[in-house]
Chain length 374, copies 4
């Protein structure tokens, strides 16, 4: 299998996401970074480049420059790692220029932008994916498959949360990424929910296979002076009426990436926690709780097992989850549709997150139930 040529926008020296995408892209030897516009700051831009990579001063130059190269040299895939505000513009431009795109979440600042990306993707015919990294974990695919197969009967209730503590204090000026995530101009209408609440929302919709239909929300701005929510909770109903709760917070001290879900059913329950991503707890109608591990022998779903690289007992982690997304995109770009890879989150999935965030913000303002409308 030949390597897919990747160009990266964003992820300048010192960023979190830059190295993460580099590691994940490299892991399977299927993707090679050939170009980058890592930062508008020249030093951070140069600092993130590696020998042999083509360096551009900004994303416009990158798209123009790569598009002008010979087809067997230029990048095929562009990864968009910038702050939220430019996701849609870069994605649309890249798609229009004929590149495949992997865009970090959230897909855009609002639904209108997201719809534009969806249209651009459809128009271009190029592979397009939103990087919901957590959905790359093999165990989540197993959970989704088991629920679909009736392992816990009819879903009765959902509890989802994503609780962090890194914004527990007013660290906007000190911690990288804190400033723009709390700035409405950069982040959009929501802070915490737009940033991480949508991970919980996408997790709920992924494992249940159902959209969230309406929400009753209570957003909180805990740290004085902050202009967006940094905490909140939501009562929700899925399309079929199933009730649930979704909590997101960035101000709970000491919490790291507590992204968790419990799905209770009429004959059992399933639980998963991102900080032990290779485990799931399946309980039956007697209450006996079985811990499954991400081992081929314990996964019923062949497509979930195909997302593992190692035999049972050898833990895989976050980078492997993102690498699964790169591997699937690479297969799509190569055109080998038969490859047993994960389904990718397309623009409509990204749009759903923006619709959810909009509904949450509206519900919290009105104090009443609000439909999630795309």
């Amino acid at each position: 299998m030949r390597q897919i040529r990747l160009a990266i926008v964003g992820g300048g020296a010192g960023s979190f996401m830059g190295p993460v995408h580099r590691h994940a892209a490299a892991l399977d030897g299927q993707v090679q970074v050939v170009a980058g516009a890592f930062s508008r700051d020249p030093a951070r831009n140069a600092g993130a480049a590696r020998p042999g990579e083509r360096l551009y001063p900004d994303w416009q130059a990158l798209i123009a420059g790569e598009a002008a190269l010979a087809p067997d040299i230029r990048a095929e895939l562009i990864a968009v790692l910038t702050p939220n505000a430019t996701h849609a513009a870069i994605s649309c431009a890249a798609l229009a220029a004929g590149f495949a795109v992997l865009c970090e979440k959230p897909l855009a600042r609002d639904r209108a932008e997201a719809r534009a990306v969806a249209q651009a993707a459809a128009a271009s015919g190029q592979p397009f994916a939103v990087a919901y990294t957590y959905l790359g974990y093999a165990m989540l695919h197993e959970i989704r498959a088991r629920i679909a197969a009736g392992a816990i009967g009819i879903i009765r209730r959902i509890e989802a949360r994503y609780v962090q503590g890194w914004l527990a204090e007013p660290v906007e000026q000190d911690v990288p990424g804190a400033a723009w995530r709390t700035d409405p101009a950069e982040a959009g209408i929501s802070g915490c929910f737009g940033d991480i609440g949508v991970h919980a929302q996408s997790l709920v919709e992924f494992v249940t296979g159902q959209p969230i239909a309406r929400v009753l929300a209570d957003l909180v701005t805990c740290v004085p002076g902050r202009r967006l929510d940094d905490d909140g909770a939501v009562l929700l109903r899925l399309a079929d009426g199933t009730p649930g709760t979704l909590v997101a917070s960035q101000v709970c001290a000491g919490e790291q990436n507590r992204l968790e879900i419990a799905v209770y059913g009429s004959t059992g329950a399933l639980r998963w926690a991102q900080e032990r991503p290779g485990e799931a707890i399946l309980s039956d109608a007697t209450g006996a709780a079985t811990r499954l591990s991400a081992s081929p022998a314990m996964l019923n779903s062949a497509s979930a097992a195909a997302l593992l690289r190692l035999p049972g007992g050898h833990p895989e982690g976050y980078l492997e989850a993102l690498a699964n997304i790169y591997r699937a995109l690479a297969a799509q770009i190569r055109g080998n549709a038969d490859a047993l890879t994960m389904p990718l989150a397309a623009a409509d999935t990204g749009l759903r997150s923006l619709a959810f965030t909009a509904a949450v913000v509206a519900s919290s303002a009105s104090g009443g139930w609000t439909p999630v409308e795309i």
Copy 2:
């Protein structure tokens, strides 16, 4: 220490609560059952009595009969274990007749009844307690004390749940206790929330030391044909504005007594789960999570440690929790105010649960925020 003489109303042969109270009352050798009106069914009444116990056909006869006995023979304490509908009437009558009372929760069917009990207790001057058994666990007293002492800083968010599965199917006719708990005439305005949601509510208020001020609720009747909620979720705010969620369900298959709380703060978090009642998890601002055990060496609070009967490493359970309530009541009846026993849940605490339930029901109907008013 002399034994306190106890009369039991309810808890007939085959019931859950009768043996539980007998075990708990017996555990410390401080309380002796002397009389009972265990059931209006003569066979179940006789079947629950033990040799030497005075048996009455109903609670009215018991109160009258015991009151007529000599002071050194008659019961001093009456335990009320009947279905909800008669809690208030029996409690009021017993208090009026000069008995101390331990009443199972919920204290009454509604706030008016609960206020009547509170007045009767005040008028009689007798010890009165509501049996929030879970609040008898030593570790909860430690958690309350640590939170009050600032162990996790300012409380930022609360998650509480009480999830069961025993009503996952329409078992009303088959499972003891299911019929009256789902019958508005017996149970009152709420099924699940009145029965177990109030345990989660009392837990939240106990460990935070704050009342729940308002709620935004979504009650569910999951099993077709049921006339009361059997599931639901609540967004809540404490008196100081702290946000939280509270989930209660009796239709999540396989769940047993998943009564749990997480209190997130500005410098750490504390977690507790009833099914491992002797453990608590205290995490600090780095995320390091310390598991405390109900061992004297690990408890900071002397009054929490006084609720333990055993050295570290020897697990105690549910019966010990209820026995702590009996021990505290016995000390109060004896008048040894200095005894290091647990604070009892008085009628005002019982009233708070009814106010919470009423607010939840009202909020779910209106779809809007509703104050909790006693």
Copy 3:
């Protein structure tokens, strides 16, 4: 059911074991303390007595005094809670005088003494049991039954441990019970193994249903100046050749009562830990690990389920385990052989522990494999 009359020898004011036996005896309302020789120290003796109990200055006086009383008044059962050195003498005398006996472990200081008790028990025809309290946990009976039924196939390997920390420092003079447990004159030929190693040994033999046939031991006296082992480890083989390890220590700081066992088999494994006594982990041939709880719905064994007092989700603990022993003894004394109670550890079980300890001490001295001979 009438109450069985109990006399207690040992357990003076300030002891650990005295209150433990009182709580456990009281829990089910089937046993009533009527007499005691709690301590040879008059103050500690009187301090442990309760109103109405007959108090004797020493065990000889108690046996003589009770034996002289009318059959419907005198004690029926004598609990022996003294230090090891007097276990056998008191047990023999009590049995000879026609009392049933519950003797704390170890049954005696050595095999000769233990054989004498076994003979006395046989001669008297009275119920006799050694208080291996941990064997009173319902879940262990379930584990034993599952293993016997082939739940994990053929046993391949055993790991057992009992690790404590309370003797991590030379606290002999400060901590109650430390002095005699480290004194050869009181404790016998072994400290740690005689005291707690035998709990692990009895656990191994109970759950596997097989005796330990031979041992290869390495005993350690960790704290300078101590005269007996306070730590050690053993390689062992069961009668059928199954290999295992057994670790016991009292010098591992911070450990409380880490009594644990793992039984690995040809198709799965079972694990149990005393500090969460109501749980067991059963893993299957794929590695999926199911946590069972001590709930009637999750126990296959009716005789294990009969040891529970509460429905699932209501934790029981150490006192309930000892209470199970009292309940079984009471049934035996009453002669209701049909009662579904636990099998009691008779004198031969106590003898096995002494044989194990003797073999461990001999093996550690010789450095070679040593048979366990009763």
Copy 4:
């Protein structure tokens, strides 16, 4: 940083180790595969190669061929992934030809071979490491540093185990890698202990900083017809007399890679389990047990934290552990001695494992204590 050029010997199509090393080498973008002799079977050899890699029919050809290339083209590092029997020969030849070497464990079949490799490494001056992958986990470096800094006081006792189940049945002909691991001609004098017991041994020596001085062993061949041990247990003493136990098995059904260690000390204890490699449990003298996570905020050791690629809450796994070894080797080959990378296991560490295995085999045969002699 330029990429180091890697040649791989072994790891033909279908092997476990080939892809593992490829993933790990690729993860950081610091190592590039340029050549391979993946298998003596031409199809499996070709099947493992990727475009642009130089393919050789056997390791002799690879060493000769690469050595003949220009210095800026030829491989700098040779990874030896063959069965045990050829480790030493290939390593010696590669070192003699001027290549750096990463050799899979065990380093050799016996001590004589291992000493030869040590001499070859010393003579060549080339970087040389044995791939004890598990020692690449960041948390183990933290544990080692904490123990060295006195976090648990003086070590009192060690428990180590490596329990697997993949050889629970006679699968020699069916499962890749099973045949040679159970064949004395390929594997050497020990099966289970030579293969995985040494992982536990190296873990013990790594975290304590002390060699195992002597052993008392009981090896087992559980599956009939097998010619080497497939299970066993060892009592051990470290150089300073500290006692411990070490269990290794490949016949415990359902176990995957249960490599675990508990180090008990005079003021606390530390625990680690490979299947949750980013966690450690540190208990203090009261028994409070703190779960540390592999997050920069929770690691005291800067050199441990340098082995992480991600912020707290983003799990890393087995591939990252091996990648840490590659990253350290790459730094050594580049000559940047200041890089904060992990210390590598040199030939003397590999020799220690062979000495341990030899002592275990001898002790099990004699039934007596046996010194570990290098």
